[in-house]
Symmetry: C3
Subunit: 152 residues, 3 copies
């Protein structure tokens, strides 16, 4: 089954890939490794969320934001590659969680993106990752995630 | 001399590799580059440390935590590769130090990991790296480090 | 036109590459990918800047610091490669902005480095990137940037 079919079956709809926030590009491929720029949660409609985990947002909010962010990452990769079926592996995710100094549940937040990758790609979606609490992020976003993929 | 023999000679004992904190894996190899997930200091016994550099912990505490973290990274690589002798180079470390806003000695903290890599691998252990102050980390850990290696 | 000639034409002068701040090296190349360690703004004379975006420094100060940092990154790559003409692509920049919890203009700060890369390398200078607010950085620097290049 193609990844696109799988996403359809799971009723996961990719948004149009968001534009880079400044003078750079969404994705640069070197060899067979596409490096994806830091992306944030882009809602289907309305303004992007603004606030901190441990402050305005609960861990389950963060999980949902991380999942939204992963959709934007996949949209960027799909646009770059012309489709997702050439993805051989999700290599790495790095998550920046806009957090208060006493927040401790960063992994549960990033799971929103990790779970989406495994839903979409199965075993090929299991990745290395790291996550940290940022003191602030662009436009007050609650999360930014960057990614490295391996393609055929 | 094998790396394992060298570690024995230096009386450096690797722990059992810690499990990933969530839905991901310790290490993903693409081409000849294993990417290691962010790991933290895992003590031989007792609970992991909790607190900030510039707060509860002194720079020399952080150095020791970074060294402990490097041991967990090597344990993860050893488990993945079946041994450390195939390591051709430590390519990069990235350190996240759980720190107060006025902490300035992040490099001295990460040296605990860098020194261990050079002890273990000699010239092949000299790496690129970067380090930053995180406002918070998972479970209140004082440091998390991720790594990229090159293998034969 | 060679990159060196282009930099001359643009009156962009590279500093002498700064030394690593601790027990590591400026640049490790694996395959055709040089990974450059986190570098900071090194002024031609006087002490390095110290302070936070959103605090002591304005966004336009940060832009200038990011540009200075990019010069130090290029100096490190030039020293490693023996020249910049072998650079085929700027693959990725990752910026750590020493920022207050309410700062929101991280992309405008990192643009100082991104714009310099595009000035120097043209289309080959367009890169993937991410940026986050760090709660503190070494020696109180306002910004640290690490980079990945692709060479011939």
């Amino acid at each position: 089954m193609s990844i696109d079919d799988r996403l359809n079956e799971l009723e996961i709809r990719l948004p149009a890939a968001s534009n880079p926030a400044a003078n750079y590009t969404n994705c640069v491929q070197t060899g067979n490794l596409p490096f994806v720029s830091g992306k944030g949660p882009v809602p289907q409609e309305g303004a992007p969320p603004k606030g901190k985990l441990g402050g305005e947002f609960l861990t389950e909010d963060g999980y949902a934001f991380a999942r939204l962010t992963a959709l934007d990452i996949l949209a960027a990769v799909k646009l770059e590659l012309g489709g997702l079926d050439r993805v051989r592996r999700v290599v790495k995710l790095q998550g920046f969680v806009n957090a208060t100094p006493d927040f401790e549940e960063h992994p549960k937040v990033l799971n929103g993106a990790s779970d989406l990758m495994v839903e979409a790609f199965g075993d090929r979606g299991v990745h290395a990752r790291s996550v940290l609490g940022a003191t602030s992020l662009r436009a007050g976003l609650p999360i930014v995630i960057e990614a490295i993929f391996e393609v055929e």
